[in-house]
């Protein structure tokens, strides 16, 4: 496990990923590596707990968009919860929320994904 990704587990067919720190190029690559590895094993639903991530840059966002594109090819989905206000705002401005969902809680996310 890296410093950025602190936990990866599966629940009801959804891969739960917990992050900590800056979602930038490095952080984004780490998420995409996990996602692509799991997609290779047939997983299509991903949920990211971003409680430990207080800041994100546009490169991190663009990597998430690449993951969404790949997921759309296999009819998969990705969602996020526990977003800091600045992260939430950046996701909105960058258009990420049009193609993926920000959830209030883990419970809501697991039910809806």
């Amino acid at each position: 496990m890296s410093d950025f990704i602190t936990s990866v587990k599966e629940m009801n067919g959804i891969i739960l990923i917990e992050t900590n720190g800056y979602l930038n190029n490095v952080g984004g690559e780490e998420i995409s590596a996990i996602c692509y590895e799991k997609m290779g094993l047939g997983q299509t639903k991903f949920l990211i707990n971003m409680a430990g991530t207080k800041i994100v840059n546009s490169i991190g966002v663009s990597i998430l968009i690449e993951i969404i594109e790949k997921l759309q090819e296999v009819n998969g989905k990705i969602g996020y919860y526990n977003l800091a206000p600045i992260v939430s705002k950046t996701f909105n401005i960058m258009g990420l929320t049009k193609y993926s969902t920000v959830f209030e809680t883990e419970e809501l996310a697991v039910n809806e994904l």
Partner: protein
Amino acid sequence: MPSSFNINELQLKYLELETLLDITNELNSFDQISVLLQEILIKSCGVLNASSGLILIEDNNSDVLAIGADFNLDISVLKGLIFNKKKGFISEIHENRKAININIVDDLFLSKTECSFGLIAPLLDKKNLVGVIILFDKESRQGISPFQESDGNMLSAIATQASVAYNNIKLIESIKEAKTFNDNVMQSIVTGVFTTNLMGEINHINRAAANIINLDREHVLGNHYEYVFESNELLNQLITKCEFESKTLSETQILLECNGKATTVNISVSPLLNDLGEPIGSVVAMEDLSNLDKLKSTFKKYVSKQIVDQLLENEELLNLGGQEQEATILFSDIRGFTSMSETMAPNEVVETLNEYFNLMIEIIFKYNGTLDKIIGDALMVIFGAPIAHQSDTENAVKTAIEMQEKLIEFNQNRIINLKQPIKIGIGINRGKVISGNIGSKQQMNYTVIGDSVNLASRLCSVAASDEIIVSETVWKHVKDLKIFKSKKLKPVKVKGKIKPIEIKEILYNRPAFHYEYAYNKIEAYLIANLPTQYTYHTIDHIRDVVEQAERIAKKEKIPKAVIDDIKLAAWLHDVGYIWEPLRHEARGAEYATSILTEMKFPKSKITLITGMIMATKIPQSPKNIFEEIICDADLDYLGRDDYDANSSGLLQEIELSKKLNRKDWIKLQVSFLNQHAYFTNSSKKLRSPKKEIILKQLLETTK
């Protein structure tokens, strides 16, 4: 990839604007600098796609910046490094005050972060640099790249907002600090102080005042002074009068009766004014004159506060009846004070002595000495009586050193004000003394007497100006401490002793020479002695050369230490006119050698200065840049608007010895100007063009 998935420029600009707006809205909500800096850094990194960041911020108003915040960076590699405002990229940003891109590998310190590219913007307080915000490595999907110009503009905008917020927090912190400081001072001082507002309500009262009036602060605050002091008509009258007349009033020995307690106090009432000088209330100070304090304040004039407190705590320590004990005795006196005072007005003598004694007695009490006597200009101080301490001798030596060192500062002020410096010699001895109250029934004084006291006095007589002489007994007591340096001197024969006494000189830091003193002395000497018939080689010409020499030296980036020497040479360059105009450079150099040696200037400096004086001999022959500077300063007027006035003065002076007709005089000037050339680049640039014009004008007149 669907086009809707692309992150376009517009979105990024929108994000930048939103972030800037967020920062502007949020910044003033922070009250801790560390939180503010961290937040700014995180948001800046995010919005500008930086991989990491660092904020360096001022450290105790020095030129050094310390790490104020870091993000996504291993700062252990930067720990212990000194980021100086005046060095490297910080110096560049200090000068330009705008964001700059840098290659991190070019910077000795930042290269330790192993980043490649940096974007740096200044945090400013008005025009002063208080910190820098540094972003590292702009990220892209292709890897890292340098930051763009637009990134610099964005970071500058964020830094401007951040600077405002940072300065606000600093201001609030300093106000809080000042308030706490004032409150602590108010609560700590023994004088009772309270203040009233315009309504006459008491709005501040310190602990001492609450004790004097025997009331809790809570019972006093917010109440009118006439209510609190209802049975103290005199105090009420004083405050009321102060309110009406807006001037300080005082009364001594007032019996203040409050809440069943009577205290004798001295009272002073002053108007409280705001910044505009308008009255906003009054401040009342009360000095408690209870017997103990009266005794203390009297006693403290002779012994240190610490000893008074010890005596008052344990009266048994005080044996005033007479006993034999060990003590260390220090004598000091002013060298040549009698002859010095003959040249001073009586009030100046008293003023000088009072200033000197105040300074010295403060040091004596600091080291727990007991001031036994002031005998004319001499001081006798006891360490170890009435209370003995293990460190008595050490304290005596420390007192002596600090007396000499403080006197150096004291003399620097006197020298600048053209007053004679005060020089003292100090002698210290330790041995058996008889201590006690000695005198008649009418007048008794606590003192010590005995052979050891006499020897201390003799050692003081042996000490030359600025010297501290101690007996072998004193040195044995302090040598193992290894904090003092000494020099063994030849044993001396003193009155009352058959055998010569072994002595040591205690060494301390003595500066050898003072430029300001030398300038003032030489200027005074020139004013008094330059022949009055001279119309060119006057004190005004010399002052002009000093001024020009300093200006040129600064332009030529000469170090400050040498500028002082150049100025000294300028002051001395025409002093030889006093004795021998035709050989004035050589006579000036001789005089400089003699006076500067007397003033303890090092030989190397004297050689440098005399070289500069000799270089001014016409035709000028400078051998180094310093000599070039003084040569150019001496003939600076050749390329100035006041050339005519100077040349008229020179002609008048030449005509003291030989008459010149107008034609010869013009010819002489043309020839001189033709042969002359400035040596320094700054003078060539500044003065040569005007000199050419003057030369042309002179040539015109010859046609």
